[in-house]
Symmetry: C2
Subunit: 440 residues, 2 copies
């Protein structure tokens, strides 16, 4: 059972700004906020968007109950008028953005939130938390999946990140190209494929390895995967095949020199007639380790720490910035801060990907007023990158739930294939395609 | 409103192992599992324990409802007998461990979980998720607090990590020495001090900076903190003092060369008579940036990304290992896996810190059988590091909630003071004190 509201998963200043803006009237000004990142993590060629569907899930739950309102009152965070405004708050704006599974680059307008200042400002932290973490995981996952070539990658990272982050990570991993997860809550909430083997403690709690293997096979059948590195691998593989027969589903190796061990275990399994028994390896794998295992006889990978921590880039540095707002005269006006090194590009954006011979060769971010953008005609073969997630408070439910994740998983594969092959290089370098900002 | 059960925040194999162990009888064997890390993040001198109290919170909620049981059945993860066993599952074991706020080192037995194999194995992922993330944040926080000397550090990192991780991070930051958080849910759940200023969008939504400052002061009073780097800092400071008077509470700078800007802003504020107006700086601060700001006239720090991502070490690599279990003859026996590079130390542990002239000079991990440990006499000045969190299913409620966090915050300061001064060095090096393993 999972029941909660994300309304207080936010920084205090969003409520104090709301309070002040309600008093002075600016809370009702129409606004466009945009999520983007100024740069990719050092050396990365692209990022993968994930989490946008979870924002729709969160907005469904976003409401303040009496306890929350009392908290805001007791702590003197907002005044009585704001409490009244919050009583039946529901976001009624419009959200557009990149598809989940889409590649993004510096300045890509990953999400656009349009509504009143009051309602949009309340979402800042929540939107960023979801996109920054989920996209970090999906971006790392995508590199790992490329490095693993056709071998399935499975998420086993739950234990190395916050317990809720683990659930989000499992979903983001599948968006990023993974096939399944060990995390049961993610499997339950999102209909993902759940996978698992056994832990060393299962062997250790038994009086001997053979007892443990027999028990696991009895409970799970011969197609299960036995963990063979608790004591001596060679002996364990012999025992495993003796107990399960050559129909044994798989073995897992979780320590040592994985490439060398996989080869020896493959040889041993083949010699024992277990030619179709699969080998899964785990143990702090990252995309570089996977690349190094390409010639080893491995059938699938269980990936943990480096997946859920974004393989060196645990967040995407995405920001949520006001780019257009209604002025005192009622017209929409582009705005931007001028802070040193952190200046933003004024005006709402359109976004397209351009192609040459079916290969992506550029990201185009077009900025301007509502009117100039309406008149803008992209080149005929440019792909429009923005889709609608929510229209005046009504979510596009096809962007939530299991099917949306499957589509995102498929979109990521297609969109990556469109990029120059350097995108899949693990060497540090520039973004795979340049971003051009067109100021209308 | 927050209501959920963490029972499925776990890897699938824990339920399949439970299923097999219930069939073969080993699920009822008494076991001791221990949480420890084999190494600190590269170059770190110590880690800080955080999250143990959250484990007690999680165990209170840990139950499976009909939907969960149906999920486990429909996915064929466990059989009917296991479903029956799970129907009114409640952890009834004993949990000991290091205090929150305590320093830990390689092989420190940070948490000990004792109970039947069945009940202990279900907790593995949840316990590790909580301790690995919370301790990573507390460990980073502690280094930042040292580097900030007496200046208060505030958590503003929620937007750069998963939305629930943000709540845990705020709590862990305070355990690690921070004074407060911007995160409202953390403030609500744990009674933490909530802090905040304003965002650039608040200035931008107004027709001019002066309008924004006036509105904020009207809503929040003169003691508020105004953000002064949306356009031109010098002009903004002038406007801020003109609008609020010299009683203005504070200004925040979020970009540029913070040390130089803080000095210029201080000079300007003093010249305007605003000598007690505080300066808060933010902008991707980490412990090294804080150390570099020591001589700048800064009054407090808002710290985000690097806090919630553990400043380069987003997880602690803690593992949960079976170290002792009942054998077929009913006696408790030390056990350990022998995996290459990942071998574990058999037997349950005691843990002490030794001193010379009131300064800690060693961590002592004593391993043996139940009997030999009962007979072990530590040196008279050794400090016993293990406290009881739960006794046969009954939580020590003084280790949960707001007061426990305050005590952990205070304990961290005291325990750090006991360590050699090199512990507070930001230079890479060995753990501040060596760990000696005594095998009885």
């Amino acid at each position: 059972m999972v029941d909660y509201s994300p309304a207080l998963m936010t920084d205090m200043y969003e409520y104090t700004m709301l309070d002040a803006a309600l008093r002075d009237g600016t809370a009702n000004r129409r606004c466009v906020f945009e999520v983007y990142t100024r740069h990719l993590p050092a050396g990365r060629r692209y990022g993968v968007v994930a989490g946008s569907g979870r924002i729709l899930d969160a907005l469904e739950r976003f409401h303040l109950d009496d306890e929350d309102l009392r908290f805001l009152t007791d702590r003197r965070i907002v005044g009585a008028d704001t409490i009244h405004w919050l009583e039946d708050f529901r976001f009624s704006g419009t959200i557009r953005g990149y598809r989940e599974g889409e590649m993004f680059f510096p300045n890509s307008p990953i999400l656009q939130v349009e509504g009143t200042f009051g309602e949009c400002t309340l979402l800042e932290t929540l939107v960023l938390s979801i996109l920054n973490y989920d996209s970090a995981v999906a971006s790392a996952a995508s590199r790992m999946v490329s490095a693993a070539k056709d071998r399935p990658c499975m998420d086993m990272g739950g234990r190395r990140t916050n317990e809720w982050a683990a659930v989000a990570a499992a979903r983001a991993a599948v968006v990023g190209g993974f096939q399944g997860t060990a995390n049961l809550l993610a499997a339950q909430l999102y209909g993902l494929k759940a996978i698992g083997t056994a832990a060393h403690c299962f062997t250790l709690v038994h009086d001997g390895e053979e007892d443990a293997f027999r028990s696991q096979i009895e409970a799970l059948g011969r197609d299960t995967t036995l963990l063979v590195d608790t004591y001596n691998i060679e002996e364990a593989v012999r025992t495993a095949v003796r107990v399960a027969g050559p129909q044994l589903g798989g073995v897992r190796i979780d320590s040592g020199d994985l490439a060398a061990l996989a080869q020896r275990v493959r040889n041993q399994l083949d010699a024992l007639g277990a030619t179709s028994t699969r080998i899964t390896v785990t143990n702090d794998l990252d995309e570089y380790a996977l690349a190094a295992l390409q010639t080893a006889p491995v059938d699938s990978y269980g990936i943990g720490t480096q997946l859920v921590t974004g393989s060196g880039a645990p967040t995407c540095a995405m920001v949520y910035k006001l780019t257009e707002r209604q002025g005192a005269d009622g017209t929409m006006q582009p705005v931007a801060k001028k802070s040193k090194d952190k200046a933003s590009i004024p005006g709402r954006k359109l976004a397209y990907r351009s192609y040459e011979y079916s290969l992506a060769d550029g990201e185009h971010v077009v900025s301007g007023s509502e009117r100039s953008l309406a008149a803008f005609a992209p080149q005929s073969d440019w792909r429009d990158l923005l889709v609608t997630y929510m229209d005046h408070g009504v979510a596009d439910s096809t962007r939530q739930g299991h099917d949306a994740i499957v589509r995102a998983h498929e979109h990521r594969a297609k969109a990556l294939e469109e990029l120059p092959i350097t995108a899949q290089s693990l060497m540090r370098g520039d973004p795979a395609i340049p971003t051009t900002v067109h100021l209308l």
